[in-house]
Amino acid sequence: MAELQVSELSKDLQSAIAGLEASEGLKDAGIVIRVGDGVAWVHGLANAGYSEVLQIDTPKGVVEAFALNLMEDEIGAVILGNDAQVSAGNTVRLKGTILEVPVGEELLGRVVNPLGVPLDGGPAIKAKQTNPVEREAVGVMGRKHVHEPMMTGIMAIDAMFPIGRGQRELIIGDRQTGKTAVAIDTMINQAKQKTGVVNIYVAIGQKLSKIAALVERLKQEGVMEQTIVVATGPADPASLLYLAPYAGTAMGEYFRDKGEHALMIYDDLTKHAVAYRQMSLLLRRPPGREAFPGDVFYLHSRLLERSAKLDDALGAGSLTALPIIETQAGDISAYVPTNVISITDGQIFMETDLFNQGIRPAISAGLSVSRVGGDAQTKSVKSVSGHLKLGLSQFRELASFAQFGSDLDDATKAQIDRGQRLTELLKQHQYQPMGIWEQVASIFAVSEGHFDGVPVTKIKDAQAALLTKLWTDHKKEMRELNNGTEKIEKDSPSAKLISKAAISAAKGFEG
């Protein structure tokens, strides 16, 4: 036993000595001339490239930074760690690489920072592969049109603003309107419907307590095994907040390039732009509108362009993005919101008024749009939800008109009645994403008028009764319907089945 230990020890020692012999060789070196606010100004290093990693030798070990300002006399570098360790006069060396993060299956179920360092107390991540944080987006020929559905499980979205794999759909709204809730439900739905889509949630400057609660919830719902959380808190340096979405996207691209499907959630890009503004101002770049630097559009366009549906030749993988933007008092004409609206393929607009009226998710039917999702909508949902958006928008207009109390003709009354029922139907609790069959049956029952006799306040109960009835009596048919390939037409067997169940379910609530 003792002998074995000695021989192992000597092996360790020998390998350590072998490591000693290797010298790092001649390196480009410069010095820190001044440092502060997370930015180090470096003299020398004429060979440094844009966004290249610099290693600063401090008495407490090496601190990394990346070069963003390459000027005639000095380099402005943003420090990726604690800037209090760095002081003027420290030696700076070129690492010779741009920033890279570990990628791969090893990260699934983990909470990491934008450099791939675990934050969940688990073991270090031993990924086989690393990818650069900044990568060029796929070209024109490498892409295919968006045609597969990315079901969110939220009826209002899947029916009216369908999202496809490879699409970029913005979630925009004031604080406390349920933006993150939509994103989380979408993640949960991927696990519930067993779509195999990998979720990557990027928290940019989110309260750590909120991230912890989120991770706990995802574990409860069984989603965490197919999720990577890239977390940065308000106390992290701006450089990490800036890197977080790019690092998360690099992790997502790994799955995309393997022919799998991944879903990116950037929560939220407003804070990202603010972090970049901080860095830019400290780097003494000239401020523009709202003090944002001139390249704040490029900041988000190059990020979101990496989300794509790949061509079959490249494996047909996809990366879907759900960026989140927080507006101030519903102002979508501010700088960053307009930028991101123009970059993305549509937006889901959340309204405070609707939220306070109890219409949750508070999705505005008039201002939301999905520009490419139509082709990607599940067939069966598409067949029942054709007139939903128009009907709902018209209802909102009519309803405000009807407030004046004038006498209404029967047709208008009927439209308002139907609208109220639809609005009620589209309300959905958080963490309860719905399957395809549930959505199809609910929408079909209301739009065919089977629930017209049910009072508006009882619509949700009638819906629950209908779904329970269908599931207990026709499990097999509903499972088939859940594939989403079947078109629901008036006389199709499924339509008859749902109609019959809806009429009998409605009976219990009429009166």
Binding site: G25, D28, A29, G30, I31, G44, L45, A46
Partner: protein
């Protein structure tokens, strides 16, 4: 008037020196310019820039730190190493002794560093 970049100042000073102007005169003029333009704080950096520019034009001022004083053969080897790496025509070596390095040498010349000291190696080993 826009401030003149350090690189341009260094270029001018080196040209003058290589043209054979007396170093004391050139430096006096440089000092006067720095005082006049209130840039005396940059003196150290300008010296570094001058060293870098000199190196680019074939004259390398290198510094070697070691734990014990080096033999002349070792110095010559270092000089020829620097000359081969930097492509310099002349290499001027200054030397200092730092016993805390334990062994090995640390070579520094403008823009580059070679740390082959035992101390650094041990530090890297503990990490």
């Amino acid at each position: 008037m826009a401030t003149i970049s350090r690189r341009k100042i260094a270029g001018h000073v080196v040209s003058r020196l290589l043209d054979g102007d007396k170093a004391t005169i050139v430096l006096k003029e440089l000092a006067a310019y720095l005082v006049d333009s209130k840039r005396t704080k940059e003196a150290d950096l300008i010296i570094r820039d001058i060293e870098t520019t000199l190196a680019n034009r074939g004259t390398v001022l290198a510094h070697v730190t070691s734990a014990r004083s080096l033999e002349s053969a070792a110095k010559e080897a270092i000089e020829s190493y620097i000359a081969s790496k930097s492509g310099a025509k002349t290499v001027t070596l200054t030397e200092s002794i730092d016993e805390t390095l334990l062994g090995g040498v640390k070579i520094e010349y403008p823009g580059h560093q070679l740390d082959a000291t035992v101390k650094t190696k041990l530090e890297r080993l503990t990490v």
